[in-house]
């Protein structure tokens, strides 16, 4: 039961990674690529770590996996913001 649930979560996570990667390769401009990559990968990592947490030996390991997800969430949101702002500044030339 746990194996099935964990596999489903991991597969769902992989699907979002795939979608994000396709978005990165196929979308026309930087902003939409950034949007696809950041959002899809954040969700993908969340599902992946939830799937892996079901296999964790103890509560501490689960918490560590969640912490990794939260740290990546904050870092990737911030870097997406910084990249987009820099691109916009270069566009407007200010």
């Amino acid at each position: 039961m746990i194996d099935l649930l964990s596999s489903l979560l991991i597969l769902a996570g992989l699907f979002f990674y795939l979608a994000g990667s396709i978005g990165l390769l196929r979308l026309p401009d930087l902003y939409s690529r950034l949007h696809a990559l950041t959002k899809a990968d954040n969700l993908g990592l969340g599902l992946l770590s939830a799937g892996l947490a079901l296999h964790a030996q103890d509560l501490l390991m689960m918490l560590k996996l969640m912490l990794i997800w939260l740290a990546v969430l904050a870092a990737s949101a911030t870097s997406a913001h910084l990249i987009a702002r820099q691109a916009r500044r270069q566009e407007t030339g200010s």
Partner: protein, 332 residues
């Protein structure tokens, strides 16, 4: 997980690593090359993980990919302010590219020679029987080393000489960095979003460094990984345009820089005076002595790596703040 799927994973990993290395070297845009190099370092860390060497994996991720990447990006930024090099004199470009080709071939030959030597050493080690004498010698003596992580036991006890010399190399490097003179003022103050990240990320990094230092005694971790994490906190602070990046001023900074080698030598010499041989810890004290040396080493390593990123003698906080104010006024 069965053997075939692991083999497929290893194959993919290996191809990605070699592909990324090639793409990074072949890239004409330096910034792209550096970013590919960072990705290469991260995958290399995964490869070390697959080889069941989590200590090396941690060091590779923190130093090889993280801090080296930051250093290289800062170097690219310094080298080409505003990408004006494409307008350079064509004659000069030609002679430069000639020298570059010679240099590239020289580096390629040296790398091939190094790879050949390493492959020969590996084959030699594998063919000599039995080839597990060293791991067995370590696990037999682990109890006396004061720590239960074999990697730390080798680095800080059995082969403490090597680590002492590595720290001396770092001290020499930082003296070279100081010879470059005053560092530049740094980056512009960050906007609210990045500043918000810095506010909680830096304490977490400092906490992680302390954890890595402590856990090194019985699990993967240790002074180098902890020092790199601590230096990363300083790098983040500098990128965010803070005037204080965690380095002390003046004489205190010099003490921190020399602390690793200094404490190491002090422990060794004290043991000599007590009638033991150099760095031969008494088993009852080994654990505490290793922690003492590693703490000093972590501070020195962090200061060295951070100073390498700063790229010279740091200006005192007041000067940097004044320079920032001045720049703000100009931009207005």
């Amino acid at each position: 997980m069965n053997a075939t799927s692991l083999l497929v994973f290893d194959g993919l990993l290996l191809c990605s690593i070699v592909g990324l290395a090639w793409a990074s070297l072949a890239s004409h845009d330096e910034r792209r090359g550096v970013i590919l190099f960072i990705a290469f370092g991260l995958l290399l860390a995964v490869a070390w993980g697959r080889l069941l060497a989590p200590d090396v994996a941690l060091a590779e991720a923190a130093i090889g990919a993280g801090l080296s990447g930051a250093l290289l990006l800062a170097a690219v930024r310094k080298q080409s302010p505003g990408s004006s090099r494409t307008h350079a004199n064509p004659d000069r470009n030609r002679s430069e590219s000639g020298a570059k080709v010679v240099l590239q071939w020289l580096v390629t030959l040296l790398c091939a020679a190094l790879a050949g030597t390493l492959a020969w050493a590996l084959l030699h080690a594998l063919s000599s029987t039995p080839h597990d004498t060293l791991p067995r010698a370590i696990s037999d003596n682990l109890v006396a080393s004061g720590v239960s992580n074999p990697v730390t036991a080798v680095l800080l006890n059995f082969r403490a000489y090597d680590t002492l010399l590595e720290l001396a190399v770092l001290l020499t490097a930082v003296l070279g960095i100081f010879a470059l003179g005053q560092a530049t003022a740094g980056y512009q103050p960050a906007g609210p979003v990045f500043d918000g990240l810095v506010r909680w990320l830096v304490p977490v990094l400092i906490l992680t460094a302390g954890y890595l230092l402590w856990v090194g005694a019985h699990a993967p971790g240790g002074a180098f990984q902890a020092g790199a994490t601590l230096a990363a906190a300083g790098v983040v602070l500098r990128l965010a345009g803070r005037s204080r990046i965690g380095l002390p001023d003046g004489f205190a900074l010099r003490i921190v820089m020399a602390a690793g080698v200094g404490v190491f030598l002090l422990v060794g010499l004290t043991l000599l005076l007590l009638g033991r041989s150099f760095l031969d810890y008494p088993p009852a004290w080994a654990s505490a002595l290793i922690l003492l040396i590693e703490t000093a080493a972590m501070l020195s390593i962090a200061a060295t790596l951070l100073l390498a990123f700063v790229g010279g003698q740091p200006q005192s906080a007041g000067v940097t703040a004044a320079a920032n104010r001045q720049r703000e006024e100009i931009s207005r």
